[in-house]
Amino acid sequence: MLQSNYMHTILPSTTHLATLAKIQLSEAKQQSIQKELVAILNMVDELNTVSTEHISPTGHITGLQNITRKDQENYTFAKEDMVKTMPETDADGYLQVHAVFGDNSPSH
């Protein structure tokens, strides 16, 4: 069955989307982005005029299948080089973060 022009009506609140996407947005930004998202989703909405019954989705495009390699260690990075790429480290070279378990810890 073909459907059309329903998508923009079901766009969840930008507040909820921003939470899922883990991006903080100011009130003003939320309002401007809401308009843009609706415009984009209305454009994308055209897909619903295409019948895709019995059409397989394309995930990979060049026909490669089951590409494997030998189960061998292939890690050549020096520890100090990798530590340097970390945003914040403590004196022992461990990644420094806020406490994981606490009042404001992520809920997953």
């Binding site: 998508m7 989307l17 921003a18 984009i40 895709t52 806020h98 810890s105």
Partner: protein, 479 residues
């Protein structure tokens, strides 16, 4: 304009040293970069070291095909010890501990620097770069195109001999057409993606900018091929690309998709450039036929589901923990994520992450992401069916000439339309090349040559024949 092969000969004959050659290009970059803004980072010191090493190798007679040849890479390719920003504030200070495979394959060449791009390769004008827009060398008030704008401009303005770019929806071919250079997106996976910062993994394709087709065949030969570090890199044997140049194209069947010519807003002057190029191909003995790619109009909407969805997943790693400087004055992990991403990402990146998050969210996945993947299948089938009748598909690259800086910034959809002719070849993962084909009021425009998957050689063969037949005279740059 010398080809890379000729410059190779000069280096080997010691008519010029690798050091002199590198200095010439560094000079040119220094003189022009403040106007063009094509380079984010100029790797002057490393370039000099590499050039000195190259000259040693040449003196010892141990040089390879790339030894001493200057090049540049879009700042999306990881370069060991050299800042790699993706045009984003969030990676402003990121120094990778390794190099992309593409960069490794140019080990003997001389890296001049990292070029400007739309943030995380999201854009068609280079205006979404946190380092400011890259300017079109033919008119500094106009955009370079994007997202690989810096690489296109660097080749066009003589700052480098060749440059790497990436093409997800047109990010090589569109800026190539705006800047009068050859831009080639080979088959998906032809060049390894290892070490290239990911945008949309099912579409991201590494490709090249060169000044002519001869150079393209030369460079592609060196960088194409399978890679143990990228399981999507193609195992298929790579061809000797240079052997395709110069062969005649008599009897070759070339299809013109009628849907492309009917696109709303398509500049009739560019259509005329296409018509003239088609006539040349006919004179060369190719047979021209109208074909149909009926799902063309769904390519753009399908792309703007697939791309944001995959981008939203790929960009989850920029969280102030794995990558990106964490935001200050935070009190919890969650706050670090939220603030780091608010401060570190620009407007277009936020838009795409939000759209992608929505399209992948529980209850909407089938209606959006899966639907778009099904439409992708239809687009691919269009190409498969067309290639039963023709050997090559010929289309325009951009529906309009380079636009003014700022003209499309406020309207994301107007920006997305810039890629209407380039997206289908990404969805079908076919090799597609942008060939300079004419000037309209002094601004460059191009045509696109597309072959079935894996047939890079055929693209180069037809492009070379057309390039020679057109013998395009470019206006001199005022730089």
């Amino acid at each position: 304009m010398k080809t890379i092969r000729e410059i190779r000969q000069q280096l080997d004959d010691k008519e010029i040293s690798a050091i002199e050659l590198t200095e010439q290009f560094l000079d040119r970059i220094k003189k022009t970069n403040s106007q063009l803004n094509s380079f984010i980072t100029i790797t002057e010191e490393q370039a000099r070291k590499q050039a000195a090493q190259a000259q040693k190798d040449i003196n010892n007679g141990t040089q390879g095909r790339f030894t001493g040849i200057p090049y540049a890479a879009k700042d999306l390719f990881c370069t060991k010890g050299i800042r790699t920003t993706a045009g984003s504030k969030i990676l402003n200070e990121y120094i990778p501990p390794y190099s992309a495979t593409a960069i490794e394959r140019c080990r003997d060449a001389v890296l001049l620097g990292k070029t400007n791009l739309d943030e995380f390769a999201m854009g068609s004008s280079n205006e979404y770069s946190v380092f400011g827009p890259c300017k079109n060398p033919y008119d500094l008030t106009r955009v370079s195109g994007g997202s690989s704008g810096g690489s296109a401009v660097a080749v066009a303005s003589g700052q480098t001999l060749f440059a790497f770019g990436t093409d997800t929806g047109g990010s090589i071919r569109q800026p190539a057409s705006f800047c009068n250079v050859v831009g080639f997106k080979p088959t998906y996976g032809r060049i390894s993606r290892y070490g290239v910062i990911a945008l949309a993994s099912s579409l991201d394709t590494v490709g090249l900018f060169t000044r002519n087709i001869d150079d393209m065949a030369y460079v592609l030969q060196e960088v194409a091929g399978s890679d143990g570090l990228d399981s999507t890199a193609l195992e298929a044997p790579t061809e000797q690309y240079s052997t395709f140049l110069g062969g005649d194209i008599k009897g070759l069947r070339i299809g013109i998709p009628k849907e492309y010519m009917e696109v709303e807003g398509f500049d009739p002057r560019i259509k005329q450039v296409c018509t003239d190029a088609i006539k040349k191909l006919e004179q060369l003995g190719a047979s021209i036929a109208e074909i149909s790619l009926p799902n063309t109009k769904y390519s753009l909407p399908a792309y703007y589901v697939l791309n944001p969805a995959e981008a939203s997943s790929n960009l989850a790693r920029y969280d102030g923990m794995q990558y990106g400087k964490p935001a200050k004055d935070t009190h919890s992990l969650e706050e670090v994520f939220l603030k780091t991403r608010e401060e570190g990402f620009g407007a277009e990146v936020k838009r795409r992450i939000m759209i992608g998050t929505f399209c992948l969210s529980s209850g909407y996945y089938d209606a959006y992401y899966k639907k778009a993947q099904q439409v992708r299948t239809l687009v691919k089938q269009d190409f498969d069916q067309a290639f039963e009748k023709v050997d090559i598909i010929f289309t325009p690259v951009s529906p309009f000439v380079p636009f003014k800086i700022g003209e499309r910034m406020a309207d994301p959809i107007a920006m997305y339309l810039a890629d209407i002719f380039t997206i289908p070849a990404d969805l079908a993962a076919t090799p597609a090349l942008s060939l300079p084909a004419g000037f309209i009021d002094g601004l460059p425009t191009a045509v696109q040559i597309i072959a079935p998957q894996f047939q890079e050689g055929k693209v180069l063969q037809v492009s070379y024949a057309l390039e020679q037949a057109l013998a395009l005279q470019s206006p001199a740059l005022q730089l």
